[in-house]
Symmetry: D2
Subunit: 106 residues, 4 copies
């Protein structure tokens, strides 16, 4: 995401004085609420979806993720790379290739 | 997120041949599953959390969001800006300032 | 659910003095967390699932729903019948028969 | 839940020929979607909520749980008692009393 987009997300909340509602717990709730709205696009049909709805709900999830990064002062590249390092260990290429078995059943 | 991080996310899936599992519907399920694990950090306590767990689960949500952007060929800046434009209209500053009332009750 | 099962759910919480954690908000979080664990049984495969896991996670959702009914002093038959009456109006048989279109698009 | 209420849930789906949409995977998605709508009642405020909304969303969760029990031919008392037996072992009274620590950290 471009810095200008991130700044617009911050400005949106700042102008509305919404930081007071953005506790980490409330943002975690918000992420799951929007994620469920994204899932609703696929509730009865896995193959077709309303792409406009998908874009809107995915954007909502991403905006709340950015709010949470900001609130907790986290660096997105740092946490994603940390997690990818974990995942690379949990899912070795030779064992995981072509299957979706969870790491604790590998 | 830096381009190198995005590339590492893609490489992780490519090496494991996991694109076959990454249907939009499955990714939507995955986002909500990880979002709920993030929420679990705040299940019984809104004030304290295990920050390491929060980082890991938030990173998982972000990785699956990137997978979905890639799968659907979406541009993150485009969809987030489109949604922010919508939100700015739904939540005018003068009406929304300092309150968290949903737009349809404003 | 039999009254004896309901009583066992209550006794489980009482013995552990967990009522203090069972605020409606925390129970709402818990229901969604367990519902996401149920969904995880179908994360990568819609057709097959581990039935033992499904039973366990569905039971967890049902237990937290009972906790919430108890916490709020709600009668399950009353609220379910109230909602079914709403749904019957939102989804008239002649319009909804054989399709899964949401009421606001009917 | 009374047998007459359960029968009304079944009749509602039968009349609309909706059994075709009620795959276990779709019902799992539906439960988490409704659970997130229940959570939305507490999104920004843990203390106050719109009780009518809470009743409606909790009822939705319960209806989809009943649909899933029916679809999979499960007995609610059997699975809940099975899970309570597990939970009683995972959370011994003497260790769990008055704290909400997860079993794997007890």
């Amino acid at each position: 995401m471009k810095q200008t987009t991130i700044e617009r997300i911050r400005k949106f909340s700042d102008e509305r004085d919404w930081d007071q509602f953005h506790s980490p717990a409330n943002l975690a709730k918000s992420i799951v609420i929007e994620a469920a709205e994204l899932l609703e696009c696929f509730q009865w049909n896995d193959q077709e979806c309303n792409m406009q709805h998908v874009k809107e709900e995915l954007a909502d999830v991403i905006v709340y993720c950015q709010n949470m990064l900001d609130k907790l002062g986290l660096d997105v590249d740092e946490i994603v790379n940390m997690k990818l390092t974990q995942n690379e260990e949990k899912y070795p290429v030779e064992k995981s290739r072509g299957n979706a078995v969870k790491y604790d059943e590998l």
